[in-house]
């Protein structure tokens, strides 16, 4: 029974590692048609082509920049918002309002807002996509941070206040250090939401804004297994490596 349990657990590991391997192998296969279980041969020419093509390099770079900017601004403004609104007499109301866009499908949310972006000329621009993602993700950030501003956090801030710390000094010397771990977690979550977004980018970006997710979809639509796998690798790799790096080398926060 014990070995069965270990086996089932091991199966999960094998399945996901297989999926990852499939993407890597698929991106390097010369040909891989039915009924072959493994590719007929391997080649790096697609990877070379991608790394030499400006279009891909730009997509990777700008996607990263976009996601970093979305997560940075949402994390900081979300934190400030939650910090202030959690002490508001109507805090429960604000929190409920945060749930307005919470479960909305990004693609349908984008359609409902696209009139604004077309009217202002922001449709099809990187800034337009950034703004649309920000607006989708910001309430999510507020909800996540709201839960860290509990009575204990407020008491710590009050003590700092009574010891003479101004609002910004309290933020710098108490709030941010105490919330260091949650800040990292929220930042990472928001980064992934933006990095993986397809719906908003495709609707607001109108095909002009080419992120990696759009490349994946484009090649899936063209039934191109090889470039779909390659684009998927590029999409998964950065957050996966960052996570592995963080697990291996991250400093432990003070308790």
């Amino acid at each position: 029974m014990r070995s069965l349990r270990n086996g089932v657990l091991g199966l999960f590991a094998v399945v996901f590692l297989l999926f990852l391997s499939y993407l890597v192998v698929g991106s390097m296969a010369t040909e891989w048609r039915f009924p072959a279980l493994f590719p007929n041969g391997y080649t790096f020419h697609r990877w070379e082509a991608v790394l030499n093509r400006t279009e891909w390099a730009l997509a990777l770079f700008y996607s990263f920049l976009l996601s970093a900017f979305v997560s940075l601004t949402c994390t900081s403004i979300g934190l400030l918002t939650a910090s202030g609104l959690s002490r508001d007499p109507l805090s429960t109301l604000w929190l409920r309002l945060c749930y307005l866009p919470y479960g909305l499908s990004p693609v349908l949310y984008a359609y409902s807002m696209q009139f604004f972006y077309h009217t202002t000329g922001m449709a099809g621009t990187w800034f337009g996509v950034y703004l649309a993602q920000f607006i989708l993700v910001y309430p999510f950030a507020v909800v996540l941070f709201f839960n860290y501003f509990d009575e204990k956090m407020h008491n710590l801030e009050d003590i700092a206040a009574s010891l003479g710390a101004s609002r910004w000094v309290r933020l710098k010397t108490v709030t941010l250090p105490v919330l260091r771990q949650p800040l990292q977690t929220v930042f990472a979550q928001l980064f992934l939401v933006s990095w993986f977004d397809y719906g908003i980018t495709s609707v607001i970006g109108t095909g002009q804004v080419k992120t990696l997710t759009l490349f994946v979809y484009q090649y899936i639509g063209e039934s191109d297994l090889y470039y779909s796998a390659l684009a998927s690798c590029l999409l998964i790799a950065p957050p996966l490596f960052l996570w592995l790096f963080h697990r291996t080398f991250a400093l432990k926060p003070s308790k």
Binding site: I159, L163, G164
Partner: protein, 243 residues
């Protein structure tokens, strides 16, 4: 001459009146022990004086100046929670020095005053420890030191030893008495423990059924049957007699 004056303060909590025109005064360098059952409003009273909540009506004066419009950080009044609430990311020394740093005192002064306080608190050996590495009693001492080092005008202690075991509690009571005398502290010490109230206070108050009963002498406090001190003394005398 009154240092702290509370004048006709009222406060409702969940539509229930906690106080009916509460009025009392406290002189400088005196420790007022406040007794009362759970939920009678002791904590609310401290938070009103500290500025963490506002009264429905009335006035509060410190050194003859009204303070209700003064923000908490400018009142010179420090409120200590029952839980020590030390900053978890700062060491013992950094916690104690915090108030001095945010007031931009010179570095040399900060170091000197922090070291002096650590010695008084008997915490020099753990100055680089983090809060989670300390015992309950040690944490309370750090919280007290952090408050005292900035020389507050008024200290408000909300059952500070309530979470400690009896032995640690007794040693903390003795410690506080020594420190209060040394630093000439003006304080309100809230407790629901009668023995602690008698030990800590130089004046006493009983908050019961929205009424404030103030006793400036232990004799008066003892004579009032509401305080329960006579019953307590009688009980222990009976035990002694049986032995």
């Amino acid at each position: 001459m009154s240092f702290l004056t509370v004048k006709e303060v009222t406060k409702k909590y969940n539509k229930v009146n906690l106080f009916d025109n509460l009025s009392f005064s406290l002189e400088k360098d005196q420790v007022l022990a406040v007794l009362g059952r759970s939920g009678c409003g002791k904590t609310t009273l401290l938070k009103l004086i500290a500025g963490l909540i506002s009264p429905d009506s009335g006035q509060i004066l410190v050194d003859n100046l009204p303070i209700l419009d003064t923000p908490p950080q400018q009142r010179g009044v420090l409120y200590l929670y029952q839980e020590a609430l030390l900053f978890p990311h700062l060491t013992v020394a950094e916690n104690i020095a915090y108030g001095l740093r945010v007031r931009h005192r010179p570095t040399a002064t900060i170091r000197l005053q922090t070291e002096e306080m650590l010695e008084n608190l008997e915490l020099t050996s753990v100055d680089r420890h983090f809060p989670h590495q300390l015992s309950g009693g040690q944490r309370q001492r750090v919280a007290l030191g952090r408050a005292l080092v900035v020389q507050p005008r008024l200290l408000l202690l909300d059952e500070p030893f309530g979470a400690l075991d009896p032995e640690t509690r007794t040693s903390m009571q003795l410690f506080f008495k020594r420190i209060a005398a040394q630093y000439q502290i003006t304080a309100i010490f809230v407790t629901h423990d009668l023995k602690e109230a008698v030990a800590m206070g130089q004046q006493w108050a009983l908050l019961e059924n929205r009424r404030w009963n103030h006793y400036r002498h232990l004799e008066d406090f003892s004579k009032d049957p509401k305080t329960g001190l006579q019953q307590e003394i009688a009980y222990w005398k009976k035990i002694e007699h049986q032995l």
